[in-house]
Subunit: 125 residues, 2 copies
Amino acid sequence: MNIIISNSDGMPIFEQIENAIKQAIFSNELKEEDMLPSVRSLANDLKISFLTVKRAYDELERGGFIKTVQGKGSFVAPKNLELIKEEKLKEIQDYIEKIYTISKISNISEEEVKELFKIIFEEEF
Amino acid sequence: MNIIISNSDGMPIFEQIENAIKQAIFSNELKEEDMLPSVRSLANDLKISFLTVKRAYDELERGGFIKTVQGKGSFVAPKNLELIKEEKLKEIQDYIEKIYTISKISNISEEEVKELFKIIFEEEF
DNA sequence: ATATCTGTTATATTTATATTATAACAGTTT
DNA sequence: AAACTGTTATAATATAAATATAACAGATAT
């Protein structure tokens, strides 16, 4: 698995790890029941504290993406299509919120945004 | 000018002020050469430190939205708002394209995206 | 000229969050 | 038993945001 972290992009390290692993799961680079790197080994590879990796894993477990068993390790949870869709809907929601903020600040009307939306969603036929 | 700040929405106060003033400029509530409230008076109104207001003003000046003169005050800069709006529309377009890609890949219908759009854009009062 | 606005700068402190180091503990596997 | 796993607790550090306070400097009206 290929995780690149950056100290300077505003996103906390634990969140960068979380996203990288989600991505690996979505792309099927990590398959169901695959074991994740141990908190200590990944921490070692990334030259960070294992507590930071643990935090990422804890979040992933809360989200239902992995299962962790003390003494054994962390494993990719059986894929749940609904979960994946939820995740993608969340991504879309984040983008729409950004659009909302920009439009509000820049005095761009809802109609103008809708128009762009229409153009992009309809031009692919 | 009507600025409402919140301590608990994740956005730093200086950024909330920044956005509120940008919005006032875009909506023409604040016109070219209009004087902004002094850092101290706005800080007083909002019950925050004048340094926080100063930071917001500094950012606005860096962005070319206002001009500040020591001893006189801060003033809305002459600006080509249409040009900025074009930039912002492009940003929005990029986001919509990302949304389009995600929705296609994840089998999320246009209707579902529209629904999210509605929810977020209607949260306003 | 001086009082009173304006912004500027410097210092120190507080708060919250992220991250770290370290140590001890607990379950699993070989 | 040794060597892996994860867990927990504590204390320390780093950073950004925001604060309080004080002193300084330019603009302006009276």
